[in-house]
């Protein structure tokens, strides 16, 4: 699943650790989500969306294998 987390983080001038602290997860988690290696659960995705005051769909987009 693609996402624009890296861009959003840069806009806020946050490091991966800063975002991890806000989400209550490890820096490794943020890195794995950001690089598309790990898809977050729905609760975590909502948490990410809330932090950036956006919707989940604004941050995450379907990967090719999940599309129709």
């Amino acid at each position: 699943m693609k996402n624009c987390l890296k861009v959003l983080r840069a806009e806020n001038d946050w490091s991966q650790q800063d975002l991890a602290n806000r989400l209550g997860v490890s820096r490794q988690s943020v890195n794995a989500i950001e690089t598309g290696k790990y898809d977050p659960s729905l609760p975590l995705a909502f948490k990410i969306a809330d932090i950036f005051a956006m919707t989940i769909e604004d941050i995450f987009e379907r990967g090719q294998e999940e599309g129709e």
Binding site: V25, S26, Q28, S29, N31, A32, K37, P40, L44
Partner: protein, 206 residues
């Protein structure tokens, strides 16, 4: 990239204390094997030394978690480190006692059975610690890595046990005691960590 051997802020690295603890056990084992010490009270007193080293080891490991130089952070990780340190120390102490009891004569079967069960119980303590880590870990990504690592370890250990068992039945390989399955499982954890690193870019938390 962090240097894992570097001292944590305000003290020695956990590896320093772990090395010291293992060296203490090695010296005690050597004293037992060479029969330099044959009296149980002295042995019990000596075993207190490496057991006491568990506490600075746990403190150093917790400092590392707090520094963020260890994978993951938080209470679940700290509790896991503490539980594994206690179980490992209990295992080493139980193993030393069993070795000493066997080497110092032919104890009654009840005592032998009791001493033989102790190291096994300590190993169960490590399995329990990993189970609790899976339950208590709040970071879903890290939890997934631990589960994945445990599954790889289980698959590896059961596969190795199956193959070895049939080879043994065919008289191709020598007999191995059943506790080697647990050893294979711990080796499988290492394999799982490598697979985590390859697929997700991080080793995991176990």
């Amino acid at each position: 990239m962090t240097n894992e051997n570097a001292p944590t802020s305000g003290g020695h690295s956990p590896w320093f204390w772990a090395g010291l603890m293992l060296a203490s056990y090695a010296i005690i084992s050597a004293l037992i094997v060479t029969k330099a010490i044959e009296q149980t009270p002295y042995l019990i007193f000596l075993i207190l030394v490496p057991l006491g080293l568990t506490f600075p080891l746990m403190k150093a490991a917790n400092r590392r978690v707090d520094d963020g130089s260890c994978l993951g952070k938080g209470e679940a990780q700290k509790r896991y480190i503490k539980r594994v340190a206690v179980s490992t120390s209990a295992y080493l102490a139980a193993f030393a006692l069993m070795t000493f009891a066997t080497a110092s004569g032919d104890p009654p079967i009840a005592l032998r059975a009791f001493l033989a069960i102790l190291p096994g119980l300590a190993i169960i303590g490590i399995f329990w610690a990993i189970g609790r880590l899976i339950v208590e870990e709040q970071d879903e990504f890290m939890r997934m890595l631990i589960v994945r690592q445990s599954l790889v370890a289980t698959g590896f250990a059961l596969s190795a046990a199956s193959i070895w068992g049939f080879l043994e039945a065919a008289d191709v390989v020598p007999h191995l005691d059943a506790y080697w399955v647990a050893v294979a499982w711990f080796a499988g954890l290492g394999l799982g960590a490598i697979m985590n690193r390859v697929q997700y870019g991080t080793w995991g938390a176990v």
